[in-house]
């Protein structure tokens, strides 16, 4: 069980939305993490490498900033199964790039722009993820 946190989740979501708006305002780009991270590797097709590097360093530094400012620990439980997590990482990386976006690019930015492709993508990855958890927890694990 994890605690239901509607207020914190809504507030955190609003910060994510604000970040997406600021990135659009500053250099006109969609805040899609799979796109930003995937383009940190060559071939480089534009000159936005420093921007992407800065964004990713900001992501990694955020928990440290949060803990320093709030003094609170961050709940974090990850599967210790290295083989499972390696396979999942390959699927997440390949699938998000193959489908031009992940939870942020399609799920936040795309839905906000009322993009048909993002509505389709978000419905599919949510549906498949829900089905996957159902199978692993209630069919195999149950």
């Amino acid at each position: 069980m994890t605690e239901f946190t509607p207020i914190a989740s809504l507030l955190g979501g609003a910060l994510i939305g604000l970040s997406a708006v600021l990135l659009m305002a500053w250099e006109g780009r969609i805040a899609g993490i799979s796109g930003i991270a995937g383009r940190l590797l060559p071939p480089f097709t534009d000159d936005a490498f420093p921007s992407r590097l800065g964004f990713v360093i900001g992501l990694v530094a955020a928990p440290l900033l949060f803990m320093a400012m709030s003094g609170q620990p961050i709940p974090h439980t990850v599967s210790p199964d290295i083989a499972l997590m390696t396979a999942a990482g390959l699927l997440v990386g390949f699938g998000s790039t193959w489908g031009n976006g992940c939870t942020s690019g399609h799920g936040v930015c795309g839905l906000s722009r009322l993009s048909v492709r993002s509505f389709v993508a978000t419905g599919i990855f949510m549906g498949v993820a829900i089905a996957t958890v159902f199978v692993t927890r209630h069919v195999i694990g149950g």
């Binding site: 946190t5 509607p6 979501g13 939305g17 097709t45 530094a61 974090h76 439980t77 193959w98 958890v133």
Partner: protein
């Protein structure tokens, strides 16, 4: 250097949003996806909060003729439903459901010290690289 620093701040804001919302905890994500078990609906509020702010924020920002740092707005314009927009999210959803990690929270979790994060993130980068290579080999332009 200016773009690097501004993006560092914007990325920090995004990452703090992930932490505050609970998205950085794979256990919470998996419980959100577990509709028929220990369902925790919190993450619907994350997406709701983010979409409402971005929906109105984009409308204000896109009235400007150009971004503050110059250049132009890079907005996807495609509306067609091709095989990739179905297969990609299906593969991504499988990995998300197995791990509870999508790309943003996985990168953010690099500073949280869980051992399997250091297996997940390099594998994710390899997966992204392989998909890009496959797309380019198909002579399909890598999307803007």
């Amino acid at each position: 250097m200016k773009n690097f620093l501004v993006n560092l701040g914007i990325g920090l804001l995004f990452g703090v949003g992930l932490v505050v919302s609970g998205m950085s905890d794979p256990a919470k994500v998996l419980n959100f996806l577990d509709l028929f078990g220990t369902w925790d609906p919190s993450l619907a509020f994350v997406m709701g909060g983010a979409v409402v702010v971005a929906f109105f924020g984009y409308r204000i920002v896109l009235r400007r003729p150009a971004p503050i740092a110059g250049g132009r707005f890079h907005l996807p314009t495609r509306k067609d439903i091709d095989a990739r927009i179905i297969a990609g999210p299906a593969i991504f959803g499988l990995g998300w459901g197995l791990s509870g990690f999508c790309p943003g929270p996985a990168i953010t979790a690099l500073s949280l010290g869980a051992a399997s994060t250091y297996a997940f993130v390099p594998a994710m980068i390899v997966g992204m690289w392989a998909a890009r290579a496959a797309i380019e080999r198909m002579h399909v332009a890598y999307p803007d």
